[in-house]
Amino acid sequence: MESKIVEFTNLLRKSGVRVSVAEAIDAFTAVDELSFEDRELFKIALRASMIKRGDEIPTYNELFDLFWSGFYDNLREQFGEMAGEMGENGIDLEQLMKQLAEMMSQMDGDMDLGELAKALLTQNLNELENMIREAAEQAGTQRIENMLQVGFFSRRTMEGLGAEGATEELEGLAQRLEDAGLSPEQVAQLRELIGKLMETLRKVVRNFTERELQTQNHDYMEKFRREMLTEKSFYHLTEEEIARMREVVTRLAQRIKNVLSIRRKRLKHGKLDLHQTLRRNMARGGIPFEVIYKQRRKDRPKLVILCDVSSSVANVSRFMLQFMYSLQEAFTKMHSYVFVSELGDVTPLFKERDVNVAIENALDGGDVINVYTRSNFGHAFHDFWKNHLSAIDNRTTVLILGDARNNYNDPKAWCLRDIHNKAKNVVWLNPESPSAWGFGDSVMDRYLPYCDVVEECRNLRQLAKVVDQIVL
């Protein structure tokens, strides 16, 4: 059992869940206090001691099923299916079993059925599960590496189980029952049952081997890592994930807000706070043992956001806008513009409407710009330079989001240079990876010199990191 828990811990680690040694030990002791019989308790106990973050729970649940209970469920399913098939062929399994039991008790002691044969005949799934696990371990299934070996290890597991012997024993049983006077019809049914049982056994063993392959397979684990929303690329999101992502963004923003209030307070000391000092030192007769300073608060930055909303980066823009507007209190002023080719001011949109509605409006152009043209960063920057440069002063952070794919238009980098000269800093978030910058129609390399911070931003974790840098 303990080795299984260790294995499970490794599995969790491979899937990107951090489990420390201390936590694994906790899991051991916790499991010791409970019985294994109740799978639900077992699951809760492991979870309480190893999983400490809400976003890891889905991964845990999936892995737990894969590792602990999935196989049993499969076993039940397969045998259920078998019973169903028999039923279709006009055989009432229950009645057959009853009759068999009756016959066998009459022939008492005569039967030398091996354990496997017994477990199969009585369909004792718990017993079967244990036997298969044991046989698989002896067959070395845990060393499986690829699909091609599934057949081999399944065969070896079957051998280890003694499946052939069990078939013979069951055949023998049928023969003897026939001799003892079982009706030919029922003997035929019994033979069919035996055949089906062996077939199902082969199926479940194969299934077990495949599961083992999955748990060993690193690529498969990678999938879990990617599934975690914070790591998931904005490019590939389903509708449902967008909805879930929205919640995650809100939580993340809330967290940054909290840290913000704490960290900002810890800024340098200000002037002596006479009032507080006297109050605090009353107990010492007014002698100022403890000196208290007024805390100077850091100025909140102003923010100007320029968002590319062309279809290629719309999702990234969506979450960044949501993120920034959830953090509104962290900024004194916030202006947002969207562009594809022409530039549109969507600041009023956000004032009038609920954030989520406003974002959806902004993304489809918000009645201010045409989103069905081709991206032209140069034109958008020039437009901003001409009409909105006054929105920027030396306390403003300019946040630009886009892939800088300019469709071979004039990049007009000098506009960005002027913006850069006026602003406190310019931050560019690019959803493409740095190796693609400057290739093809990307003009990122032309803009690079005028940005203070340039970050690749493709998932929530990266976004959170950048935002953290901006607001603090």
């Binding site: 409970l34 809760i44 309480a48 973050r53 967290r255 909290n258």
Partner: protein
Amino acid sequence: MFESVDHVVSQLEKQGYICDKRIGTVVFLANKLGKPVLVEGPAGVGKTELAKVVSAALGRELIRLQCYEGLDEAKALYEWEYSKQLLYTQILKDKVAETIQGATNLRDAAEKIGAEDSVFFSERFIVPRPLMQAITSEEPVLLLIDEVDKSDPEFEAFLLEVLSDFQVTVPEIGTIRAKSQPLVFLTSNDAREMSDALKRRCLHLWIDYPNEELECRILNTKVPGIDERLADEVVTVMHRIRDLDLKKTPSISETLDWARALLALNAGELEDELVNDTLSVILKYEGDVQKAQGELSKLLEKKSAEAAAEKPQPAPAAAAKKGILH
């Protein structure tokens, strides 16, 4: 002491706290292994309440430390009682003079005073704060560190010593070990991610909104005298509201408040007008109220339509009236 998970659940139920096996298991393990529990979940699902009922069920004293921004060691652990020390020196002036008698110079006098300074830095002059109280108590207690996410990261780091070894270090005195090991509950609203070091030392319990059946049971226990049908309706409506995208999602405590309000108004069942009037009990933002109103009127309409289908007689009568008017 709890004997099994089911025992925990039934004991908590006796205290009026209805919970599922998940909570029961974690409480059982915490008690058995002597590990702190970090309870997380949305506001108002009964995190603090859990600690209270566990202390009641175990018959342990509850010591509560409410965390807030700027909470420091002096308020959480101990403080030197400066004024008392001062008072003692004043009263014991003669004794002090006696001690330094025979000292020929300042250095000697200082040495002599120095030899006695443990008198002034002893447990006598310490004001114990919740953490110290929990550790020095003769009887095992239950320590509740509430809203630990509101505290500063520094404080969290300092908690580690207390949580893992159940000891505190006072520089002037030395290390004070726990006489009896307290059972520790930490609650957090997930406003801030707790550090891995802290999480590692705790069992983790995530309490979410209960399912409808559980919430019904909670409602019936906590608000005695409520009509069962009304309780069902209230819970259904609450679950519907929680599915909406709201600024502040109402919690169990709001369900209870609402049920009590309805009871006070002698309501037998939910009606459109009644719901609109009392919606402010569960929703705290105007925007939320508007959103919920739209959704709820749909729900109630459907309900009344169903009711009308059940007893179709009044409907034709109303239609007939209309006919006369025209």
